[in-house]
Symmetry: D4
Subunit: 251 residues, 8 copies
Amino acid sequence: MGLRDILERVSSGELSPEEAQARLAGYATTDAGRFDAARERRRGIPEAVFAPGKTVEEVAALVGTALDTTGRAIVTRLGSEDAAVIEAGVEGEATYHERARCLVVHGGGFEPPEISATVGIVTGGTADREPAGEAAVIAREIGASVERVEDVGVANLTRVVDQLDRLREADVLIVAAGREGALPTVVAGLVPAPVIALPVSSGYGFGSDGEAALLGTLQSCTVLSTVNVDAGFVAGAQAGLIARSIAAARP
Amino acid sequence: MGLRDILERVSSGELSPEEAQARLAGYATTDAGRFDAARERRRGIPEAVFAPGKTVEEVAALVGTALDTTGRAIVTRLGSEDAAVIEAGVEGEATYHERARCLVVHGGGFEPPEISATVGIVTGGTADREPAGEAAVIAREIGASVERVEDVGVANLTRVVDQLDRLREADVLIVAAGREGALPTVVAGLVPAPVIALPVSSGYGFGSDGEAALLGTLQSCTVLSTVNVDAGFVAGAQAGLIARSIAAARP
Amino acid sequence: MGLRDILERVSSGELSPEEAQARLAGYATTDAGRFDAARERRRGIPEAVFAPGKTVEEVAALVGTALDTTGRAIVTRLGSEDAAVIEAGVEGEATYHERARCLVVHGGGFEPPEISATVGIVTGGTADREPAGEAAVIAREIGASVERVEDVGVANLTRVVDQLDRLREADVLIVAAGREGALPTVVAGLVPAPVIALPVSSGYGFGSDGEAALLGTLQSCTVLSTVNVDAGFVAGAQAGLIARSIAAARP
Amino acid sequence: MGLRDILERVSSGELSPEEAQARLAGYATTDAGRFDAARERRRGIPEAVFAPGKTVEEVAALVGTALDTTGRAIVTRLGSEDAAVIEAGVEGEATYHERARCLVVHGGGFEPPEISATVGIVTGGTADREPAGEAAVIAREIGASVERVEDVGVANLTRVVDQLDRLREADVLIVAAGREGALPTVVAGLVPAPVIALPVSSGYGFGSDGEAALLGTLQSCTVLSTVNVDAGFVAGAQAGLIARSIAAARP
Amino acid sequence: MGLRDILERVSSGELSPEEAQARLAGYATTDAGRFDAARERRRGIPEAVFAPGKTVEEVAALVGTALDTTGRAIVTRLGSEDAAVIEAGVEGEATYHERARCLVVHGGGFEPPEISATVGIVTGGTADREPAGEAAVIAREIGASVERVEDVGVANLTRVVDQLDRLREADVLIVAAGREGALPTVVAGLVPAPVIALPVSSGYGFGSDGEAALLGTLQSCTVLSTVNVDAGFVAGAQAGLIARSIAAARP
Amino acid sequence: MGLRDILERVSSGELSPEEAQARLAGYATTDAGRFDAARERRRGIPEAVFAPGKTVEEVAALVGTALDTTGRAIVTRLGSEDAAVIEAGVEGEATYHERARCLVVHGGGFEPPEISATVGIVTGGTADREPAGEAAVIAREIGASVERVEDVGVANLTRVVDQLDRLREADVLIVAAGREGALPTVVAGLVPAPVIALPVSSGYGFGSDGEAALLGTLQSCTVLSTVNVDAGFVAGAQAGLIARSIAAARP
Amino acid sequence: MGLRDILERVSSGELSPEEAQARLAGYATTDAGRFDAARERRRGIPEAVFAPGKTVEEVAALVGTALDTTGRAIVTRLGSEDAAVIEAGVEGEATYHERARCLVVHGGGFEPPEISATVGIVTGGTADREPAGEAAVIAREIGASVERVEDVGVANLTRVVDQLDRLREADVLIVAAGREGALPTVVAGLVPAPVIALPVSSGYGFGSDGEAALLGTLQSCTVLSTVNVDAGFVAGAQAGLIARSIAAARP
Amino acid sequence: MGLRDILERVSSGELSPEEAQARLAGYATTDAGRFDAARERRRGIPEAVFAPGKTVEEVAALVGTALDTTGRAIVTRLGSEDAAVIEAGVEGEATYHERARCLVVHGGGFEPPEISATVGIVTGGTADREPAGEAAVIAREIGASVERVEDVGVANLTRVVDQLDRLREADVLIVAAGREGALPTVVAGLVPAPVIALPVSSGYGFGSDGEAALLGTLQSCTVLSTVNVDAGFVAGAQAGLIARSIAAARP
């Protein structure tokens, strides 16, 4: 149904302005300045505040807006000191995830969603921790169960093989791609669920900062999709969206 | 359950070699030379033959192996003349998808899968046709319904808006990203389903050959995952995997 | 005035659906498949058909649609042989610009626009001909007068100096940037009008294919804006838009 | 009229040396060392002092020269502490634009220009503030009215739609291009005025530091011209030049 | 022993000019124009003629020189038709390796070397054939046994596992790195011998032409060294050098 | 022997689970969390702890695990202050190599390996020290003798010539490639042993950070293999592997 | 003496217009369309016609203009067939340099310059022939003696050493830089004259098309300047300029 | 005369070892560790100490060696504080060039060379100061007169034109290439002497850090050679070499 039809029906009274607005969806908004509160309603993904380049006061103000409009606030890439400042100033239940460098605040009366689907998150080394942690936080806020499989690496295949059972139980997998980025390819060759590669900015020399890892996931000889380097939030939200679609289909 | 456990159980008779092999999954194979027939069993994605760089005889031989081992053959990036040669030599039902440049052959008695989920495929211009067509062929072979939304573009938003209803019905969306690659970002801001961006090698000058499009999807200010430039097969298979997971969850 | 207001007024009868649609502008369209006929109305820039990657039949069909919906058709990057085929099949006045590789068709009764403003187009060498020619065709179709200044180059400043009077009379200038791309910088230092740089894919070795030229315009120590390498259509249309704004302001 | 002609006329007394020099324009200068005071006369763009890499003393000295020769000084990319030092040492009316990081000083008796044209400046997020602010300062110093439209983004189209009326009133638009750089393309599809894209160095991972944004504007499927990443001064000056041309044409 | 010492000893008669020259090694040469016949003596690697960019006559002439000076000629990247022309004109035993696109000619009386060491060459897909074949030809001409392991790939680990015994018997391994380049990393994690990665120019889109593969080998999280993309000759010669060092140490 | 055969034999009692596991090798592991203790057994290369991005506590913990499982710990890219902290907390013989920035700890009773083969390490300037030192430490820990040839450079060929005798005695050579990366090519043209190039991140301007050096080694007109920029550990381990293969072959 | 002074003196009759024009030099021109005939007078470098992208008719026309205005024509990158067509149509002495792909025509009465200085041109392999030949043609047309040293290469230092006497006699040297581009660095370390590096587009894989060679010359650890990849004309003209300066100083 | 001939003559007593060594030149050296004292003798370019990455003690030690072996020391890229430390510890006449960040020390009795030739050095803005200053220091140490032309820029051609007389008197010119790098091209079009471009790492956004400037000099439509970005030492030394060749030719 196109725009003209909608307008005609509003004109004829068949459709109320509210219904028309809902119909046009993304177009409905309770827009509170910089914070896109309607995103959760449109896409089911909670909006997060990206901390770098903002002062702690700016972050705190956006946290307040988020709590007011959606009952919840998520801040990514936030240092522990700034987190403490913000936690001190909010009401509700605040949790700072140190390894993920994320702050989550649930306002009073906020009912965290729960969905019956599991996101598996597979990592190799130390450098994968922060982006993978970020992904885990977001996936959990969307309501998914998160299953972490850590310290597996392609240089020692046993670690992968020993975890096959767990890997195969996840509804969707996020696999970190550090260094040469081979792990998502190896995992995606062994499991039935969709795999989202999360390239990580590790390594040194040519192809470092995640370039080799990203190219490795784009050129993978198996089937997977990828997100940008260190984009833990995006990987977690995309996996959460898929998990939610699966959970929603469950009877 | 780790490798050692499996071996102990085989030794003690708790597990037959067949069961152990099945358990180790990916490890079981009826490997017919170059063609990975077990992939469909492991991942549910039919293996496809990538035609470029192979002679028509080599492609034909692989088509034969595919039919023998899995009952079906899919060839991507195949010219119409080569397709005609191969069609002439096979038994079964062969379909050549001209715009997608894909050949699909179903052997006698092959039962195409059908799943109750829809993959939406959104494109802008002429250049998107081939990769999007490739994606459609694969998604259909996995059993999904495919809904095409064509000729929408960010330079004229109405085209997107007029198709919102159709876009919102898909279980998962593939959105082609030609030129500056903005379409997947715009669409992903309007729909609830997971979006997979498919960058396309259009344009000229700096950032052409899909580079601007790919970077645009990686830097998207909304949530989506991406595949490599022109990787229609990968986009279609990844969307198909997600669709199948959803369909499998349906009661 | 926001979307909700518009819908409320449609509902209350204050606004007819037609007016609402016009209000939302870009949203109104007489969309004929792939051809965006509404673009000219929205932006005043005639839509052009980009020939590469399309068959001559496809180009001809789009030319037909363009003539039907806007009374005019413009095709860019079209070889002379294909142009002849298309010219043979259309009604109206067709002109093929050989150096610009553009075909323009004015349907019967089409009234070409005329605006009282001048676009100056400055080029250095042979390689600049095609993109500059493309720019000239578009600027003229928008209705501007076009003044060509050819064969000036930074390696011989006299050529520039000898043309200063002509350069200073244009309302807006397009300056081709071949090789090292210094010409737009030199010209922009001498004239009062806005300068649009048009990098050209000339040269060989490192920085060729217009890369040095594009970077040179982006890093220019004077004031100018730029378009992509060889993007003659974009340069011509942008200059045309500016010329039209100026002409519209003239009493 | 070429150089030889001018010289002949000077020789014959037809032309005074002063007139000849004026004729050769750019060639006339009251050059005060490093500061190009004649630029404003030649192009109507006030010369600005680019602070990075200069000591505060060097900046202050150039500010003095600027005030002496043109009655005005503009400094870009200046920290607030350095600004305070310089403000303390100058006569005239000094204004420090914190978000834009620009210092403007009007000497005693300086008559700021005023032109009857509007530059619209559209931004998405926090990262766009500084370059867009820089653009606004320059456009205002050229005399244009500046209309800011903030916090619109392609991930939530309503924000754009809700501002359409304001966007359509500007004579020329600067649209910031952060992240994937889609906003200028979307806006340019909806307005009649010329659009200048201003890519911004936001984002992380591949294509960050404005690379994706710049490529996105160069590959845009609509008509616009672009400036370098974060080049707020250039965008503002180019828009100001266009606005002035339009204003000058107004009766 | 430095140059001066050598000269002093020549002067004092302790060293003959011949011995001095031998001492300075590389410095002694029976240089026949463009062909470096001394290379085999210096390094034990037969010089090869790189065919691209040379006419068939030039290649034939160099083959003649090679036969005259070293008793053997090797031509790489030679088409089958040119090979036939050259074979027809030489004396000795000529073998054209079709898949490797190499021509080898042993002159009458040439005694091919034989060394008691094995070079393993591991490949994944069709694209790896030519560079891996080139490597095999060179390794054999150095005298090594060559063991090919074909059609293994990281997307199906069984293929690797099933060949572990053979992989572990080689004295040195060359592993082709197509697509994402993960295979050398996986193999190097399982075998005790040195591994040389040979990136191959397969794939499409971003990171194709071997770029992802090369970066993947440079960033590998295990221990290996690499050669340039498609540099089969270099990989084969380097592996041959290592094999010969090992064989030479054998009692 | 494939996986199925192994499983059948375990089932029939022909093979014990232990033997099967050993057979599948890489699959056997005494995996202590993040530290891959089995690597030394599989490949003969001691696992090293890469310090950057880890806290001193994390490094110390991994050193403890390494000592417990393999009797030895190696830490690379470790600052001297952190090294002092760690040395203070471990038992056994700790050596900090200042120029190499490596810490080596031999636990009580650890018997360092010794092999009868020599690794030559050739460097040019100051910048080569750290990566070359890292390579030397690893090669020695594998048991090889290390022969350093320092301060030779292509801009003064005598330095190379004066060291020819020493260069020719090594069983395998690592040659640092700083600046333009020509040294490995020059050395590899003069010696019979395999050469591994180690590009170093020196220089400034275009091609710095080791890019020119790496490309120079990949494009070398002689035979060598390369590792990533500054990858001293990889070069040392690869050379050590080759040296060990040669030593093992010695009677 | 500034522009104003010149104009004042013209006005006062101290300077004739001709003298003023000569004074302003570059400003004097007998500009014949696209061909810059004045270049030779200004810089002593004959202007050359760059053939690629021009039709044979266009090249012939420019040859005619060159002969008319300067008595000589030089065409670079011209195929032998086109050369034959042009030779047939011109009067004067035409020479086609096959390996350099350059055509030189001396009109009747043209007196080729001769200068008492030598340009040495050093090359390694087959790929260097064309650019080095182009350089030789230009240097000779400027009047210099040219001394060719061919087939030397860094992989076999003797070839360089054996030519040291000849290399040291040149007044200025052009050294081709193929593959890894090490030759100019090695040569510049051995001779007293200025060295101009000429990178050549040879090699394959990463860093090919002259990229590694160019970076190698830019990062050279010795003193030299460079021109673009394959820019034989520029290298020859720059060396010719230097040779002429030296010759002019000779008594 | 080849190596063998030299050895034969040494053997026969025709040549003393000293003469032979001198003959082989570069091969003779009084090599004092890391400092190449013979370079000045071989090439006439004083060796300089590159300070970055070295401790002040290391720099001081190399200064001592330089003074001992050549009577002079030059240090580049040295901070003023480190310079003060070193000056305090040396004997002889020390001069620290603040803007060039170079320290020059002439030992007691050192006779600075003087040659009758001039190096012109042309710069645009502030960022050019340090590399141009470095070039000036080196050129002067080679003995040339240095003529500085500052604050000229392509955005205001008068500045160039007003300095034409001075520019034309230099025997060789170094022209800084900041921002878009157009200045060397403009200057080289106006002067008869050889021009060496010196790209400078100024600007911001795409093509900054000297990339646009370097590409601009490589793609220049006139004749010049270039050095790496910020390579003031190399530009100064190359210009000095040319100046010396010219001076040596003067009677």
